[in-house]
């Protein structure tokens, strides 16, 4: 696994969507929190893509009033592809699944291809 030098998992803590991730994760899994490696993966992912966690989620769920499903579908697709790219670059399904877990607990479904 290639750790990006700019990754700073601790800096993510203040983001609303990261807190949501923690809460929802603990609710579903009956306690606990995502692995430290998952936070680090998210930190690298946002760094590579030059966005904040909140910006990622807002870009997918923002159009609630307009109900613009197409836009949201397209935005989700974009992030799915970027996460897949991230998986390929890092050569780590676990790292990518850390990011996917963040997306899922924020209400954005992710379905990576099955490892057979």
């Amino acid at each position: 696994m290639t750790a990006s030098p700019s990754a700073d998992a601790a800096a993510l803590e203040d983001f609303r969507t990261v807190q949501q991730w923690r809460q929802s994760f603990a609710r579903f899994w009956r306690g606990g929190e995502p692995e430290p490696a998952a936070f680090e993966a998210l930190a690298r992912f946002v760094a590579v893509n030059e966005v904040t966690p909140d910006e990622i989620i807002d870009s997918v769920l923002r159009s609630k009033e307009s109900g613009d499903l197409m836009l949201r579908t397209r935005a989700r697709r974009k992030w799915m592809d970027l996460i897949q790219e991230f998986e390929d670059t890092e050569q780590s399904r676990d790292a990518a699944n850390g990011v996917r877990s963040f997306m899922i607990h924020n209400g954005v479904a992710m379905n990576p291809p099955i490892l057979r």
Partner: protein, 273 residues
């Protein structure tokens, strides 16, 4: 009873023993079986009213009949009238009255979760607005509901397994609404007429079915599903496929039944010298 044998031994029963009541526990078993059926978003689309013939007047009984089924209502001691609750989805969403997807139950119990992309926020942000709510503002819509029939079918099979005879049949909607006070948000599915069968277990043999080749397909509608005769043979051994109707003595049985019930068709056959 073995599952395949239940399916294979089921017949639509149209003659019921008189004077023999159906035990309440057997009726509850039918209802419990129906309630355990699979149902979209875990909402109880299937509703039912259990009616007892002997507590109804003849006029009330007659008001339930249709051209398709009339004498059956006179002969069966119990009717379970199955409905599709057209309002169930709204109730599930607005009052969380059921352990449905809308109330988050399926995630709480770990039936669905993050491995499938689901979270509580996903239910709120996507499943509710995009799957559960669309069309709700149009109010209750007729047109049937397969899930209500899935439940009814599980109930029907439970009746067979409990040793009861049963037949599905349409019933008069307006008559039933009047007699039982059914809400207009319930759309009829079918009546299940239940009692102890007065027919032999074969009830004349297994009834005709549509051609296999016109019913089952593999990958394309031009390609009938290949039916392996060896498997069909094994289905016979396991009691799923039984002797086809009419078995040779069926007409005698029907005549005797008709005579017993004082129904037309019970007259002795004229001997032709």
């Amino acid at each position: 009873m073995e599952f395949l044998n239940v399916i294979g031994s089921r017949r639509s029963i149209r003659y019921f023993q008189q004077g023999r009541a159906v035990e309440r526990e057997k009726i509850q078993t039918i209802l419990e079986g129906a309630r355990l059926a699979s149902r979209a978003v875990n909402v109880p689309w299937a509703k039912a009213i259990v009616a007892y013939r002997d507590r109804l007047t003849q006029d009330e009984i007659d008001s339930l009949k249709t051209p398709f089924a009339s004498v059956e209502f006179d002969l069966a001691p119990v009717y379970i009238l199955w409905y599709h609750d057209m309002d169930a989805r709204r109730v599930a969403i607005e009052s969380s009255a059921y352990p449905s997807v809308a109330s988050g139950t399926l995630q709480d119990i770990g039936a669905l979760g993050p491995p499938h992309g689901w979270s509580h926020k996903y239910v709120q942000e996507v499943v509710l607005p995009e799957v559960l709510m669309p069309g709700l503002s149009a109010g209750p819509q007729r047109g049937g509901n397969a899930d209500a029939a899935v439940a009814m079918t599980q109930g029907l099979l439970c009746a067979v397994e409990e040793g009861l005879g049963a037949c599905l049949a349409p019933f008069n909607e307006a008559g039933a609404a009047e007699v039982f006070g059914v809400p207009d948000t319930w759309e009829p599915v079918q009546a299940m007429l239940v009692g102890y069968s007065a027919e032999s277990p074969q009830a004349g043999g297994q009834r005709p079915r549509a051609d296999w080749d016109k019913t089952f397909f593999l990958g394309h509608v031009d390609k009938p599903y290949p039916r392996d005769p060896a498997v069909t043979e094994s289905m016979k051994e396991q009691g799923l496929i039984q002797e086809p109707s009419p078995i040779p003595w069926r007409s005698d049985e029907v005549r005797a039944l008709s005579r017993g019930f004082r129904l037309p068709g019970g007259e002795p056959v004229e001997e032709t010298a």
